[in-house]
């Protein structure tokens, strides 16, 4: 699966959670830049799961700190 369209669509899915209106990039951090709390992250994860018809186990979330890492994970999970 191509990473570029995944990344582009991810930005669209993240935008509603971008309350501070910052510029989103590969290195944008969910905790430090977007300041998402754990409950908000869960909503985002559910949306991502349904977008690509994948399950994103909670166990992998602590390692996904940036949008780039999340894009990589979606591509990998989609196989």
């Amino acid at each position: 699966m191509d990473r570029a369209p995944v990344y582009a669509r991810l930005l669209e899915l993240i935008e509603p959670f971008n309350k501070k209106g910052i510029a989103l990039a590969e290195a944008t951090s969910f905790a430090d830049d977007l300041e998402l709390d754990s409950l908000t992250v869960m909503d985002l994860v559910a949306n991502i799961e349904d977008e690509w018809d994948i399950n994103m186990p909670l166990n992998i979330l602590p390692d996904l700190e940036t949008i780039g890492q999340l894009a990589d994970a979606v591509v990998k999970l989609k196989g």
Binding site: D37, S38, L39, T40, M42, D43, V45, A46, E49, D50, D53, I54, N55, M56, P57, L58, N59
Partner: protein
């Protein structure tokens, strides 16, 4: 030296900011005297308890107290040991028998707290290579059980049957799967569509665990919980519960008809690597559980006062978390933390104690004054509670206007 506690500075600042507004500490309430299941002395004032999950009002039951005293004298203050070593006394066996009688199951295992029951069951049932599929609004003890175990954990949107179906459908067909549900969700007090959810779990060959902590005693013909009320006794694999709500003491348990269930005692760390309940606690639980089997009058009264409280608060203009009183948790929604704490403080000043709940205990963005009544409350108590809610709101309005 890096101060390991400095990571909590934001919490320290937030809590200080809260207290600096001059309110009572919502997380620091002390009951200097407990007068009954419905009354305690807080800040020197007799207060109506409207948030203790003491659903069946068993804490001061004469027979329960007598059983505890007798066991305290006969077996001593504590067991000083694990259930699998020196910590199993006659009262531990007796309370497990009471649970088997109450639930009509072949097996019952008692843990030292409800939290540990979930921690133990969740972490032990699903191992490496297995999958846990859980409701997003699951209790912290379920999430912590997931962290303690080695299974892959997948979450579905709260009470959403289709969401559960989709997530189960994405898992490998041959993998071990455990679906974790709760009969009553303890924050909003809403009940789960267990019939549909358990059917979906079966369709995908998943086993099911239902936590009935907030339903024991007053849902279903025998008071077993929402799963009994929805006719799922032969469908659900494991039921988890607690002694610290309807039973009126402390402890947790799991019951099951699974033929291999008893092996969990030897492989479950939160069961075997902790001291067993004090024998007096086990004896009070046994006495209470046996009385709950025939507590129809208490059960009827709990529903009557809960429905009246929901109707009364709704009529007074409060925003309720559920449109109808689905359970014995009657939660009032407030817009944000500041207004919730202010109202909670005013209620306490008016002699009402309820729970102040906020994220992450509650779902995102939800602030609650969570009320629960007991079978020991009267309909007249409910009138007083509702009028004090109205008075507290008026006091707040006056303060704001000033």
């Amino acid at each position: 030296m890096t101060d390991l506690l400095s990571k909590f500075d934001p919490y320290i600042a937030e809590h200080k900011g809260l207290l600096d507004t001059g309110v009572n500490d919502p997380f620091g309430v002390v009951m200097t005297k407990v007068l009954s299941p419905t009354r305690a002395v807080i800040n020197g004032r007799e207060t109506i308890l409207v948030g203790t999950y003491n659903y069946m009002g068993m804490t001061f039951d004469e027979d329960v107290i007598a059983a505890g005293k007798k066991a305290l004298e006969e077996f001593g203050a504590g067991s000083t040991g694990s259930r699998v070593l020196n910590g199993t006394f006659a009262p531990h066996i007796a309370v497990e028998q009471a649970l088997k009688d109450f639930y009509g199951t072949k097996s019952a295992i008692v843990f030292s707290t409800g939290y540990q029951a979930n921690l133990g069951m969740v972490s032990t049932l699903a191992g490496k290579g297995d999958y846990i599929v859980l409701d997003a609004d699951s209790h912290a003890s379920i999430y912590d059980g997931c962290k303690l175990g080695n299974a892959e954990v997948v979450r579905f949107r709260h009470n959403n049957v289709e969401d559960l179906d989709k997530r189960l459908g994405r898992l490998p067909a041959e993998a071990g799967k455990l679906v974790i549900l709760e009969g009553v969700y303890s924050m909003l007090g809403d009940i789960a569509p267990l019939t549909e959810m358990v059917a979906v779990a079966k369709k995908h060959n998943a086993m099911t665990l239902v936590d009935e902590a907030h339903a024991m005693g007053f849902f279903g013909k025998h008071g077993r919980g929402v799963y009994e009320e929805q006719g799922l006794e032969s469908e659900v694999d494991f039921v988890v519960g607690t002694f610290s709500k309807s039973v009126g003491t402390v402890g947790g348990f799991a019951v099951s008809n699974h033929p291999k269930f008893e092996i969990l005692r030897l492989v479950c760390n939160p069961y075997r690597f902790t001291a067993s309940l004090p024998p007096a606690v086990a004896a009070t639980a046994e006495a209470s559980i046996r009385k709950l089997m025939t507590a129809q009058a208490k059960r009827d009264n709990l529903w009557a006062v809960s429905r009246k409280l929901h109707a009364g608060l709704k009529a007074a203009g409060f925003r309720m978390a559920t449109e109808t009183p689905e359970s014995a948790i009657i939660a009032v929604l407030l817009p944000d933390q500041v207004s919730t704490v202010a109202m909670w403080h005013q209620l306490l000043e008016h002699g009402i104690y309820c729970n102040m709940s906020r994220p992450p205990a509650t779902p995102a963005g939800i602030f609650l004054l969570r009320c629960s009544l007991s079978a020991a409350h009267t309909l007249a108590d409910v009138d007083v509670i509702v009028s004090r809610f109205v008075q507290a709101r008026e006091s707040l309005a006056t303060m704001k206007a000033a």
